[in-house]
Point group: C2
Chain length 417, copies 2
């Protein structure tokens, strides 16, 4: 009656896919801001554990998922691929629309995929405390959940505007044992430079988290997006999706995912890059907010990942590290930059990008909720807004998008936009 | 690795199970409070549509689920049966624990099962507006969702204490087009009798809803629990559960579900009553809050379903229609009575009942969230609290409970208890 493709756990891919093994070009290396030369591994070891740094530069095509990580994935994975029959019917389109639903995870978004992996690799490397930042709160709650699973303390700097807009997210992090501070905070030198009523940015929160890690023993920094190893862990989404599409014999014309730092988009899209490289007729689209258009309006150059300039310089599409995005409700997409992998793919025209307005986003989100019975996270609703426009044209056989999370913690966004 | 039992849609039972066909005794009929005699169908037709009244008294064992209802069930059904391996491990128990997860529904609880059916039957009977009450908001949001699916207006009286504690529930109802008023309201004569700071009760909210229906054309009343036809629709839970248990060859020693008005409990338990009647070794337990103990401390007698005395008199376990339960966080369990079917089964000792404290409930809820990756609704956490106690004994082969909903709209309860 309705196509829902579940995989058995045994059918779930047991490896991550590393796109760096297949790209016909090299990524530009991260630079040490002090020397403007490629950064030394030693410097990075101060903030990241060794196993994750190895993954960051690995060229292995497939990286096995460790058993303890698989055990935790089994809580919610494999996630379903669902045909949006009610949306199709409403749009009167002949295009088949499928969505990969990551909202079934313990904290309601795809972020748990890398949180579990990062917690595990930190645990075996001897880390005691994980420090991070969070925008909408999806990453912070995912890391809190994963941290307690592996016995790690988790401390989170949460972008102040989201901290105020999303009290439930804070409760969820606390429930899983996470310690949450609004950023800019008065806990760090960096935070204290900003006025009390500054809405905060991911860039500032990252600075505060890294500053904390550099001044504390056995603490490591954990990032929920942007970096190669984060996208690597998220490829479990695209790998499952590929398998599910094969089972029902669908060769999608377009793969769509929302894009902030790149973890959901990369995780969904990277496993399809070999298809693009081999000339298959498939278009991959990153959808971002019109008000924070890193890919569609940013410059491709070296920039810092944070505001204070504590991170290495990364070659990426950026709106500039001092860009303060408007207080839109898709907090997870309020980042000035884009992941180096996604940036390079976009620069080489292997993927496309598009932007949508906040109005389109919430209209799409409400429609989807009423028809398909899932209130999407505002982030994910960006993908839906784009998909609706494409499906209305009716000239495609099938479109697949990732519904990266549910919006049950973001409901006030639906009335306050 | 982890047992999760998904049914294909084709495997989902396409009928409801009517326990009245199998009971070796008759239910005591609802009485007209004016005559103290069985109430005439005509009187009930003023508030309920004919097809639902037919189901209320039917003796057919299986009642086919209409095609348009099946189509809507396909949005989220069949729901998974999951083995709580992490909980078992934590408790170091040899008892296998399974849960039937109804939180995957569009509004996060089992209530959608009957909401869709009621909206459909009202639609074909010509109803334009559905009026109802809601405690925790689960029922109100379920009916709002179902109403818009079938083009019906939905108006909801929400128990005031929940209205204040659960703002997200109101937003969700509004998102699906439902109109929500805190009860006691000043919209009805009945509501105006109470002071402004009265916390409200389901009994009062029901009175306000029925009063509204009696004074409006083409409006019908819709109840989310208690009545025979509501429990009938919910048997889809137990029927699926039975099939899933058969697939994995599990014969449960105990079936557990939380109990408020009886819809989740009845839906889960009734399909197992034939097993009890045929002498199989199976125990069925309804778990209720110690502070609102309709079954464990109530009297078995005729009572009104509401506070103002607008409903027929029903034979049930009751704490008295004027009972004002404390403002516990499991709003869905704050009802003075129990469904006539569940009451009769309990009176005849075909099922058991137990109560748990609010402290036990939230401790169980937090533990479950951390281990199993789902924050349970406070209502559902009652079942978990009981299951944990039973599993610790370690003398049972297997226990199955219904996780009737998630607690993502109830997170403040987890810090405010």
């Amino acid at each position: 009656m309705r196509e829902k493709v579940y995989l058995k756990f045994e059918e779930m891919p047991k490896v991550y896919y590393n796109v760096l093994a297949d790209l016909p070009f090299e990524l530009d290396p991260p630079l040490d801001p002090e020397t403007n030369k490629p950064i030394s591994p030693e410097k990075l070891l101060a903030i990241f554990p060794e196993p994750l740094l190895e993954q960051e530069v690995s060229k292995e095509r497939f990286i096995p998922i460790p058993e303890p990580v698989l055990k935790e994935y089994a809580v919610y994975r494999p996630t379903p691929l669902v045909r949006a029959t009610f949306l199709e019917e409403y749009l009167r389109t002949r295009t088949k629309i499928y969505y990969k639903y990551e909202g079934v995870s313990p904290t309601g978004s795809h972020k748990v995929n890398t949180a579990i992996a990062q917690a595990y690799y930190n645990k075996i490397a001897g880390t005691k405390t994980l420090v991070t930042e969070t925008g909408a709160g999806q990453w912070g709650s995912a890391l809190s959940y994963a941290g307690q699973k592996f016995g790690l303390d988790v401390r989170i700097f949460m972008v102040k505007v989201s901290y105020q807009q999303k009290p439930f997210r804070k409760i969820l992090m606390n429930l899983f044992g996470g310690d949450v501070q609004p950023s800019p905070s008065n806990l760090t030198q960096i935070g204290r430079q900003f006025s009390e009523d500054h809405p905060g940015t991911l860039g500032i929160a990252i600075s505060e988290a890294i500053h904390t890690v550099l001044n504390e023993k056995d603490a490591k920094y954990s990032l929920g997006s942007v970096l190669n190893h984060v996208l690597l862990h998220q490829t479990i989404i695209g790998l499952e999706m590929k398998k599910q599409l094969e089972i029902i014999g669908i060769k999608p014309d377009i793969i769509v995912a929302c894009h902030g730092g790149g973890s959901n988009f990369g995780g969904s899209a990277l496993p399809f890059i070999p298809d693009v490289l081999s000339g298959k007729n498939i278009k991959i689209v990153a959808v971002e907010p019109e008000s924070c258009p890193s890919l569609t309006k940013g410059e491709y150059r070296y920039d810092f990942g944070d505001t204070a300039g504590l991170t290495p310089l990364m070659k990426m599409y950026t709106l500039g590290k001092d860009f303060v995005p408007p207080a839109i409700h898709a907090g997870g997409l309020r980042y000035h930059g884009a992941s180096p992998i996604v940036s390079k793919l976009y620069h080489e025209r292997l993927i496309d990008a598009a932007s949508v307005t906040q109005e389109e986003v919430f209209e799409a989100g409400k429609l989807f909720a009423k028809l398909e019975g899932i209130v999407p996270a505002p982030e994910s609703a960006h993908a839906i807004a784009y998909v609706i426009k494409e499906a209305k044209k009716g000239d495609k056989e099938s479109i697949v998008f990732t519904l990266s999370g549910h919006g049950y913690f973001d409901l006030n966004a639906y009335i306050n936009q």
